[in-house]
Amino acid sequence: MGNKGLFLDRGIVTTIIILSVIPFLLQNSFHYEIAIMCMLNAVICIGLNMLVGYTGQISLGHGAFAGLGAYVAVILSTTYEFDPVLSILVACIVLALIAFIVSKPILKLEGHYLAMGTLAVGIIISIVLNNEDGFTGGPDGMGVSEFNILGYVFENDIQWYVLSAIFLVFSIWALQNVINSPFGRILRCIRDSETAAKAIGADVPYYKTYVFVISVVIATAAGSLYSYYTGFISPEESGFMRSIELVVMIVFGGLGRVYGAVFGAIIITALPQFLTFLHDYEHMVFGAIIIFVMIFMPKGIVSIFDVLKVSKDKK
């Protein structure tokens, strides 16, 4: 947990060190792609974890929001030649609005019904993205314009790596700050007891909506960056499997833990790459790993560190 008042705590410093060292281990563009994908997925997961892990609201449709957000940004800058950063900002605003409207009826649902409701919204979005090929280029996807910040063009792996790393570190730091703040406490209170939250003066629907919108905006930003990086976008990024993948990441990593989302994202993103030698057995093994972790490490991968810490404390 972060120390109050300190700008950089152990976790953040360790993260920065690791992120600085990794580029020396990356040998080619493909490695960079995986690393960047891991980091941007981690950012999306940090946002999603805020909603699912900390506030206790399941969303099985976040892939669709991330994809839709990315499409808005990418279409603005590619088809309409907007400035890319402006495009992302506009996309964030548009998605925030959509998320706000969707959240009003959806967040009245609970448990399985909320899961199915968000799932349904996500699938509808992805079907629309698939079908409206006039805008989106349809199932084949579309090429994406270059990305620049105030004229500085991002065109090589190192630049993207640094940008993604900064985004990730900032997200981790911000989330840690929020979790220990009054706002964060209310979220966690909602997860444990909505009645208690009401009883201490929190307008529960307001906070649920707030977190939902924030998590969608974060997903939009990170999703957009990823599309700019790869230079390509397709409706598959907004599909049901993508939404499921994101939830698997945060549960696998550890719900309601800052680094849970990060580890989960990294492992689930990178793992399939290491399993390619298994060829067609890849999915079987992947499924088996998920099952194994859910049965034997229900609190997620990050709980390994808890066990290590407990045994260290005992010594």
């Binding site: 109050k4 706002f183 966690r188 201490i200 003066g201 929190a202």
Partner: protein, 256 residues
Amino acid sequence: MSLLKIEGICKSFGGIKAVDDISFDVKEGTIHALIGPNGAGKTTLVNMISGIYSVDQGNIYFNDENISNVATHKLVEKHIMRTFQNLEICENMTVMENVLLGFNIEMNKSLLKSSFQFESILDDEEKFTHIALSHLKRVGLEDVAYTLCSELSYGILKKVEIVRALASNPRLLLLDEPVAGLNGTETAEIAEIIKEIASAGVTVLLIEHDMKMIMNISDMITVVNFGQKLAEGRPSQISSNPDVIKAYLGGGTLHA
């Protein structure tokens, strides 16, 4: 002066009238007890006062302001706090975090400021943590301040809930069975705490079944049965009221 006025309130669930035309006043600075057999409608009544249930008929006035059907979280701004029969504690948070939630309305909840660790947020944390610790000391819980609530006993959590409710100096405190499930020592401790609260000027509306405690600390008692008011008066009047005795000992049900 009557801080809380209940006038002719009614509440039905389907065909069942849980609360049937109940009226009473709670004078400021007193401990007012609400007693009656199980299912008499006490919790329903408190749920209506605290905005959890809607009021079918009648009115509730707090400080001469009509608060019928005002949402729970809005009542907190008017300094009305409550505890729950079924303990609504955040188990995955520490005692300190639960108590800090009690200060919620006074704290800065800006997402932006907390993300960037603004000075004001950090100062608030420090300030309220200090106050919380002193509250916890008064009830003897300073040692478990940083323990996760899921690891603590029921009796301790009951105290935590009361501390949380008191944190931001409420004017009216609704306690729903604060000593249910506690042993004699714990009950006496809570009784002391409630007396201290009242002497500090907080008005207390208390639902309880523990007769000894009720008779000991209450200024006024309202007895309900089958959703209706049965009797009202000082402890000495109530304990000798034949209708009350009949309801509890005659054909009615009683529990420890």
